[in-house]
Symmetry: C2
Subunit: 190 residues, 2 copies
Amino acid sequence: MTTQQMQTEQTGPFKMTVWEEENFQGKRCEFTDECGNIMERGFCKILRLDERGGEFQGQQFILEKGDYPRHEAWSGNSGYRTEHLLSFRPIKCAKHGDSKVTLHECEDLAGRTFEICDDYPSLQAMGWCSKEVPSMKVNNGAWVAYQFPGYRGYQYILERDRHEGEYRNYTEYSTQAHSNQVQSIRRVQH
Amino acid sequence: MTTQQMQTEQTGPFKMTVWEEENFQGKRCEFTDECGNIMERGFCKILRLDERGGEFQGQQFILEKGDYPRHEAWSGNSGYRTEHLLSFRPIKCAKHGDSKVTLHECEDLAGRTFEICDDYPSLQAMGWCSKEVPSMKVNNGAWVAYQFPGYRGYQYILERDRHEGEYRNYTEYSTQAHSNQVQSIRRVQH
């Protein structure tokens, strides 16, 4: 089944509805828990999608509550066609004001650091001196880091609960990360 | 000249550098003020781009400080090719904490309202009950409203200084707006 669009809700713990066709047409499935492969039918709620190959591999897309009538609505500018979504799982966020991540000048959580507690559509405007972030540690909550300013380009979902929040080099940001270029970052909305 | 990528800076009041080719190659121009048509050479600083036809017509893209090595870096998911950027102008932002916009349930600034002072990657998660916003008033600062959650889709740049901050129906959001669908909104970073 090709996932064409989705609608996420937050009534109860988690819920996501998926339709086979664009604009909420065709066969539909509801999920209220994670789903390693969309071919399974059950109740899963998703706030994070991974496409290709199932089992949370491939490009990541954060999904917050709302309507996504076409695959472009979640893929933004992914660089390649992304309508084949195969696995989803919920992620744990913190209260908006409690989220925190530390950026490091060097890999392996070394070098000078910059602590962030807010959303930054431009890290360079904030004072971070380059377009790269070699490593990061998530202290609290869940964050989305982006390749370009204004929350554009590849997105990397960073969580406190994944290997203790430590992302020691860019290959840990995502299996699809090609470089350590990170120019904007924001908290996942609770 | 086709604009292939840009780099924005904020040393001094305004500055933007434009290169003819991707990855910062080829002929370059620097701008420190608005430019109605990129074919003019002068110093212009840009935080907002309008493509097609010059003179601030067509699709809008907000540009905050950083590096944009290819047109996809600023166009995100625009729905059509956007490397032909022709005009730019700076926009006036407020301090992050002072920005405010009011959403209205009905057109013409009528109906119940919702005041917003923060960034919302999902208006529905905040409590706004639909995927549409029929009209808005910018009380302070500059905002970017997006078609889909997570700051994706068409972007509409809303300013206090444009017709007194009043956007009475979706045709005023942008000349390219096809509907009043707005599912995420954020302040422009100062």
